[in-house]
């Protein structure tokens, strides 16, 4: 009897393991199949129109996604007309924002910008020195690869119940918010930063705002007197701290000690978003 139950438990364990791996693979294939079907629908979009697929408008700023705000600001800076789609948010590689243009579907804000620069022969960096561009690039990476996790910690892990105040959430998604929170926490642990306490995470990411503020100094933009391409990304991230994280230490820093960042955001907003108020969700 004893040996029989050990055998049964082992069999169960092996079976469970096999089911787990098969299930994981099947889910991955199903997700890819869904994305492929969705992309087929957009294959028929008019070839001369650029369609920007991104998250729907938020209540506090035009986009609660730093990458969405970055890309839209770039399109305005480069004067590329675009149409917004907020229904098919997730694109190729499971990322957003993504674009459909001349039959191509491209994801990742930075790769999209490089694609459009090449396709349309655009250069918004003409008046910026190589050194200034390098500083702007470094600050973009600080905001996109490090500060981003402070934003996630505050918005989706520590204050997830306040997300509906930032953006409309369909009823079904509201139920899934705690799961989303757990998945994002796991992503942060995989990154490494999630192994720290929330206090340490905020300390490290507040330092990012100090870094970017120090690098900006008294300049109007990171490109100097005129914005450069990476100003779009830096604005996309810093604007979240200024308007999109109410009650956070990030907001307090931008209102107080690092007010050059808030003034910078106001300048970018005035330059590229004269319709800012109309681009928010007023419902």
């Amino acid at each position: 009897m004893g040996c029989c139950s050990i055998e049964l438990s082992l069999t169960n364990l092996i079976l469970f393991g096999v089911l787990y791996f098969v299930g994981k693979k099947a889910l991955k294939l199903f997700k890819q199949w869904k994305i492929d079907r969705m992309l087929e629908k957009w294959d028929d979009a008019p070839k001369d129109k650029l369609i920007l697929h991104t998250v729907w408008r938020s209540k506090l700023l035009p986009s609660a996604s730093p990458f969405g705000l970055k890309l839209e600001t770039y399109l305005r800076m480069a004067k590329i007309p675009y149409e917004l789609d907020t229904k098919d948010v997730m694109g190729p590689k499971g990322k957003f924002p993504w674009i459909t243009y001349k039959g191509a579907h491209i994801a990742d804000s930075q790769l999209i910008i490089e694609f459009l620069n090449k396709k349309l022969d655009i250069s918004v960096n003409k008046n910026t020195s190589k050194e200034q561009l390098a500083i702007a690039r470094a600050c973009r990476v600080v905001m996109e690869e490090h500060f981003f996790w402070g934003l996630i910690q505050y918005r989706f892990i520590d204050n997830v119940k306040a997300v509906p105040q930032l953006t409309k959430i369909p009823a079904m998604f509201k139920l899934l918010l705690p799961l989303r929170s757990c998945l994002l926490k796991q992503r942060m642990i995989d990154n490494g930063i999630g192994k720290h306490t929330p206090t340490e995470i905020y300390q490290m990411t507040e330092a990012d705002l100090h870094t970017v503020s120090g690098a900006l100094g008294s300049k109007k933009f990171f490109g100097g007197d005129e914005p450069c391409e990476d100003d779009c990304a830096i604005f996309g991230g810093v604007a979240q701290a200024v308007w999109g994280l109410p009650g956070s230490s990030f907001e307090r820093l931008c209102d107080g000690e690092l007010k050059n960042l808030k003034e910078y955001c106001e300048r970018m907003k005035e330059m590229y978003w004269p319709d800012w108020e109309n681009c928010m969700d007023k419902s």
Partner: protein
């Protein structure tokens, strides 16, 4: 390499333990000092600055230091992913030249390490791209660092700052730790100021470099 270099720059004597590489929070490196254990290189440096009254940044202004930090974060939070993927996923056969012990050990580390590195890179975001795209992104970061360094001795000028330890820790991998990679080719051909920077720091703070490597080869 970052913490090693900081300890040598600040002349804090230390002893290496290679048996328990992962400490509190499951991170490496970590330190033990007078019964206190600290993980994460930035927290280690901040802790030792306080405990041992060190300040590598006193010669530099706040604005200058911001530049050093921006370069550090760019390397630690993007170049390091390119390095991990190069080592464990795209070019694992070269891994053995840097870390190799024996065939069984290397196979286990590469199999396990490869899938963990890939999974974490996907969670971070960069792993969703192709190898060429990742190399493109990371190479542009190296070019930006090269532009910012220029012909200066250290990232901020003639005197090193705290972030030079981290920057050397990352760039040193491109110079010595990623054999036959495009990153190695880049720092030895187009971005030679990065290679020269690394050799400068190595000559200044690692007089025993060859002995450290030969000790490792003997024990392997």
């Amino acid at each position: 390499m970052k913490v090693h270099t900081y300890l040598r720059m600040t002349q804090i004597p230390y002893k290496i333990d290679g048996k328990d590489p992962f400490g509190p929070k499951g991170k490496a490196p970590w330190i033990s000092l007078n019964g206190e254990h600290v993980a994460d290189s930035e927290f280690i440096i901040a802790y030792l600055n306080r405990k041992c009254n060190k300040d590598l940044n006193k010669e530099h202004s706040v604005d200058q230091l911001a530049l050093g930090t921006a370069v550090r974060v760019m390397l630690e939070d993007q170049f390091s992913w390119g390095m991990a993927l190069e080592r464990f996923v795209f070019n694992p056969q070269e891994f053995r030249k840097v870390f190799g012990k024996n065939l069984l050990y290397d196979t286990i580390i590469l199999t396990f390490g490869g899938s963990v590195a890939y999974k974490r890179a996907v969670a971070q975001g960069i792993g969703a791209h192709s190898r060429e795209e990742i190399e493109g992104i990371v190479s542009k970061n190296l070019r930006a660092v090269s532009s910012l360094l220029g012909d200066k001795k250290y990232i901020l000028g003639d005197m090193p700052c705290q972030d030079d330890c981290a920057i050397f820790g990352q760039l040193g991998q491109a110079v010595w730790g990623l054999p036959n990679s495009n990153y190695e080719k880049l720092v030895h051909s187009e971005l030679t100021n990065l290679r020269d920077y690394c050799f400068r720091i190595k000559d200044l703070y690692y007089a025993d470099w060859d002995q450290l490597i030969s000790r490792k080869r003997k024990s392997a």
